[in-house]
């Protein structure tokens, strides 16, 4: 019998038992629906993770740390040997003690073969930012990284390299509080940044020696404040928009040039144990767009005793988390499918029993056992097809309808969706469901194929 005739006949047989067919297909559909949404969520999460990495890291840079625990949420399972680079971060139960890199380490990394540039990753706690006639606002500052090129609302970024030492990028969150009507208006205007130096023994000695030389009056109440603060005026080069994929919490940091970030950081940490110490630094690899170069540089730094991560490693970690979460949901989808498979086996067994005389007739008329088996397996395939179409289309419609709401609720940002549907993946899922259904139909089909036509024709 021609396969197309078997396909048509199997389709007709299913049509003649519509309700049973639809109910069985719905069982497969539930599995298909779950798997469609799971795969779409996996795609969306992976895409979001990729965007997160792209907008926060330069792929040609390596992240270098002395303490491996930095890459492990900072937590340590056993006490570590003390050295004076250890810094305590956080407080209460969330206290981490981590070894930091020194200026010597920065020099050593910079001199490593294959390393083109090193960024110290300064983070400056700013006392306040203001402009004339406006309020003083809290802020933090970081070094501008040309490789990341933050999204701007107004102004421009240099094509290559750093911004100048007199320029600053302010996040759009500061526009209103600093009295700007819009981003465009802010570009070219000046703002004042004030950072504070902690009162250290060195500062006290410096102050005393100035007073002894008669250069200052120790009774002046403004003295301490003036002595301890550094006030710098910058011109706003651009207004940055906080990307939905930004890793910084709360208000995004102000961005100044790398030398400025260093100057401010050193001023705010001078005389403290934090002076010129870094949890991580970023080492840009020469020809770092080539994976082999990154690997070689990473090996060299690892041999030198540093803990090194490439952006790809970070991406892999994120992808692994997504994959684990996706796998958990997939398991539920597969369990649903297993239940559906038993549904198909049951339905097809009943069908074989109900159609015993029909099978007997077909065999008497010369239909081969192989073709009888194909007929029943194809019926199961049809059920798989129907279930797959019902499940994936329902998932698609629901996903497309809910995507804007989910994006808003999870604050994923414009252009990001949690559920990303890939046609090829959906087709593959449909074929997989058809295959599973076909396999589920194998046992009943075998029973049908092995029926003795004489016995089948005698069935009441």
């Amino acid at each position: 019998m021609y396969i197309r005739d078997i396909v048509r006949r199997s389709g007709r047989s299913l049509k003649s038992a519509k309700i049973r067919t639809i109910l069985t297909a719905l069982a497969i559909g539930v599995g298909g629906f779950t798997l469609t949404l799971t795969l779409a969520a996996g795609n969306g999460a992976t895409k979001y993770a990729d965007n997160l990495i792209k907008s926060n890291f330069d792929p040609s840079e390596l992240i270098v740390a002395r303490d491996a625990n930095i890459f492990n949420n900072g937590s340590t399972s056993s006490p570590q040997e003390y050295d004076d680079t250890i810094s305590t971060i956080g407080g209460g139960r969330q206290t981490f003690q981590l070894k930091r890199l020194t200026q010597d380490d920065v020099t050593k990394v910079r001199q490593t073969e294959g390393i083109e540039q090193v960024r110290e990753g300064y983070r400056v706690s700013v006392q306040y930012i203001t402009r004339e006639g406006q309020k003083r606002l809290t802020a933090s500052a970081e070094a501008y990284n040309g490789a990341q090129r933050p999204e701007t609302k107004a102004g421009s970024l240099p094509k290559n390299g750093d911004i100048t030492d007199k320029e600053i990028l302010i996040p759009d969150a500061y526009l209103g509080p600093l009295g700007f009507a819009n981003a465009q208006e802010a570009v070219g205007k000046t703002v004042t940044l004030v950072v504070r130096q902690p009162f250290s023994q060195a500062a006290a000695q410096q102050l005393l020696s100035k007073a002894q030389a008669g250069a200052t009056n120790l009774n002046d109440p403004k003295l301490l404040n003036e002595f301890q603060t550094l006030t710098t005026t910058y011109t706003i080069r651009a207004v940055s928009a906080k990307a939905a994929t930004s890793l910084s919490f709360g208000v995004a940091p102000l961005l100044v040039s790398n030398p400025e970030a260093k100057r401010l950081s050193e001023f705010t940490t001078q005389g403290t144990p934090d002076y010129q110490k870094f949890l991580i630094i970023y080492a840009r690899v020469k020809n770092g767009d080539q994976a082999s170069q990154l690997t070689v540089a990473k090996d060299r730094l690892t041999k030198a005793g540093y803990n090194v991560r490439s952006v790809e490693d970070t991406q892999t970690t994120l992808t692994q988390i997504v994959t684990i979460l996706q796998s958990i949901v997939l398991v539920f989808g597969v369990i649903t499918l297993i239940a559906a498979v038993f549904g198909i086996v049951n339905t097809q067994y009943i069908s074989v029993l109900e159609r015993t005389r029909e099978i007997g007739l077909m065999k008497a008329l010369g239909m081969r056992g192989r073709d009888v088996s194909r007929l029943f397996m194809l019926e199961a395939t049809w059920i798989g097809f129907l279930g797959g179409v019902i499940g994936s289309i329902t998932g698609l419609i629901l996903g497309i309808s809910l995507n804007p709401w989910i994006t808003k609720k999870l604050d994923l940002g414009d252009g990001n969706s949690l559920l990303v549907f890939k046609p090829v993946q959906m087709l593959a899922l449909l074929f997989a469901l058809m295959l599973i259904a076909t396999l589920a139909g194998w046992l009943p089909a075998r029973k049908a194929a092995k029926l003795d036509p004489i016995e089948a024709l005698r069935t009441e």
């Binding site: 007709r12 008497a364 010369g366 081969r368 073709d371």
Partner: protein
């Protein structure tokens, strides 16, 4: 020409052993009408099943047009049945949810007849049983007589050389039964096929060219055909 030679059929083993047919032999000319008669348990159906290749004899041979049926491989046997044989049953065995056209199409699909020839063949078969106007009607909506005519159309659509009819009028009232019998005999003459009817109905058997009467698995009497070993 159908030659049945020394056919025996034994079911079961040892104390459960039951002999359904004992050394049955006869010859039937082509295009004849044959009635196999006998009481229940006489071996009528077993003989029909062995003659149609649905069952194997314990011993003996069945030769149809010089082809030894039981020497064929299963695949050859299936193809032979699809090309040369057809069946009509007491219970009609039509698929109620499918149209008359789809029911009659079944043997053509099994025999892998070319698609372009199928529709005309189905139409001709339905016309032969005066059901051409029911071509798109669901079989379940037809009366008992129409269903059996549909089964006859299905049996003749592939122009078989041999039609087996197992109590073809058993489920019909006498008027409808007479009509069906009339059509069967008319088609036998028109198509030149051999018609083998298994029946209890002596009146129907009397209309056939040859009557084979079975009793306890043996040929009790035979009329109009060559009896015994060939």
């Amino acid at each position: 020409m159908i030659v049945v030679e020394g056919v025996s059929k034994v079911y079961g083993k040892k104390e459960n052993r039951f002999t359904a047919l004992k050394d049955v032999s006869f010859e039937l000319p082509s295009s004849s009408t044959v009635a196999i008669v006998g009481k229940s348990g006489s071996g009528k159906s077993t003989l029909m099943h062995i003659m149609s290749g649905l069952d194997h004899p314990t011993s003996g041979t069945v030769t149809i047009n010089k082809r030894n049926l039981h020497a064929m491989k299963p695949k050859q046997m299936d193809a032979f049945r699809a090309q040369e044989m057809s069946f009509i049953f007491q219970a009609f065995f039509v698929e109620a949810n499918q149209t008359a056209y789809q029911n009659v199409m079944l043997p053509l699909e099994i025999a892998e007849v070319k698609r372009r020839d199928r529709r005309s063949m189905v139409k001709r078969a339905l016309a032969a049983v005066e059901l051409e106007d029911k071509i798109d009607t669901q079989a379940g909506k037809l009366s008992g007589g129409q269903k059996q005519r549909l089964a006859i159309a299905r049996a003749i659509v592939n122009k078989p050389t041999l039609i087996f009819a197992d109590e073809p009028t058993g489920n019909l009232d006498s008027a409808t039964g007479d009509l069906i019998v009339k059509q069967l005999f008319s088609l036998n003459k028109k198509l030149g096929c051999t018609l083998i009817i298994v029946t209890h109905d002596q009146e129907l058997a009397d209309k056939c060219d040859i009557q084979i009467s079975l009793k306890d698995g043996k040929v009790y009497s035979i009329s109009g055909a060559k009896k015994g070993k060939v």
